[in-house]
Symmetry: C2
Subunit: 116 residues, 2 copies
DNA sequence: TGCCTCGTACGATACTCACCGTACTACGAG
DNA sequence: CTCGTAGTACGGTGAGTATCGTACGAGGCA
C-alpha cells in the first residue's frame, strides 16, 4: 500500500490571506513556538504524535489548528497520521526574514535562560 | 520652567526580563502594532495623546501598558504628558533583527492590502 | 471482522483580554 | 487657587482561548 494521502481535507488560508497579526499571535504561545522550532529543525514533515507536549491530545489538536489557521504550518493526513510542515515559502514571500529572526530570537532566549 | 521629568515612576522590565512570547503577544494586536510603527518612524519620543487611536482613553492606557510591560516601549512622565519611546537597543541586544523584520512585515502587509 | 492508534468533536471551565464609562489624580497655565 | 488637559484606577462586559475529559471517527493491521 502506498501510504496515500487521505481524502479528508483541511482548511488552510491561501498565501495572500495570511495576516501578520495572526502569525504573531500564533507564535506568542510557548507551546506553539516549541512546535514551530522543532518543525524548523526537522526540515521536513512531522506527525502530531511526534511532539511530546505537556498537555492532553485535545489541547494539542487545538494548538495545531491555531498554527494551521494562521498560515504558519500546513497539515495533511497520511493514513492515521497528520503530517505537519512549516509554510516557509509563503511566509518568506509575505514577510521576508521574519520567520528566521523569530526562530533565532527563540534560540537566543532559550540559551540565555539556560546559561543563567 | 525646565519641563522636568516627574517623580512618578513606571515599572519597566529590565532588559534580561524581556520575554519573546510577551513581545510577540504585544505586537499581535493591530492597535499596538500601529503605535510601534509610528514610534519607529518618529525616531524619538511621542506622547500618548499624539496617537489618534479609535478607542477611548482608558483603552489607550491599557495598550500602552501592555507595550511597556512587555518591554517593547519605555515610558516616562514629562509634566502631564507621558512620553513613549521604542526600546530599540534592548530589543536589538536580545533579539537581533526581530524588530526590523516585524516592522518590515507590517509595512509590506499594509502595502499589499492597500494595493489590492 | 475486530482491535489499536491517531486524531477529532463537543461540552465545560477558568482565565485573559479588548473595550467601555465614570470617577479620580497630577500637572501646568492663568 | 481654579480650571483645563493628560492620563490612571476601577469595575464591568462580552469575546476569545487554553485547558480538560469523554465520546467518537478513520485508517492500518492481525
Amino acid at each position: 500500500m502506498t501510504t496515500a494521502t487521505s481524502s479528508r481535507e483541511l482548511a488552510h488560508p491561501a498565501r495572500e490571506e495570511i495576516r501578520l497579526e495572526s502569525v504573531l499571535h500564533a507564535l506568542s504561545d510557548p507551546m506553539r513556538m516549541q512546535v514551530v522550532r522543532e518543525l524548523a529543525e526537522a526540515e521536513g514533515e512531522l506527525s502530531c504524535s511526534y511532539f511530546d507536549l505537556p498537555v492532553t491530545k485535545s489541547t494539542t489538536t487545538h494548538h495545531f489548528r491555531v498554527l494551521r489557521e494562521s498560515g504558519v504550518i500546513q497539515q495533511v493526513y497520511r493514513g492515521t497520521a497528520k503530517m505537519n510542515g512549516l509554510r516557509r515559502d509563503d511566509l518568506a514571500a509575505l514577510f521576508p526574514g521574519l520567520l528566521d529572526s523569530v526562530l533565532d530570537a527563540a534560540a537566543r532566549q532559550e540559551r540565555r535562560l539556560a546559561d543563567g
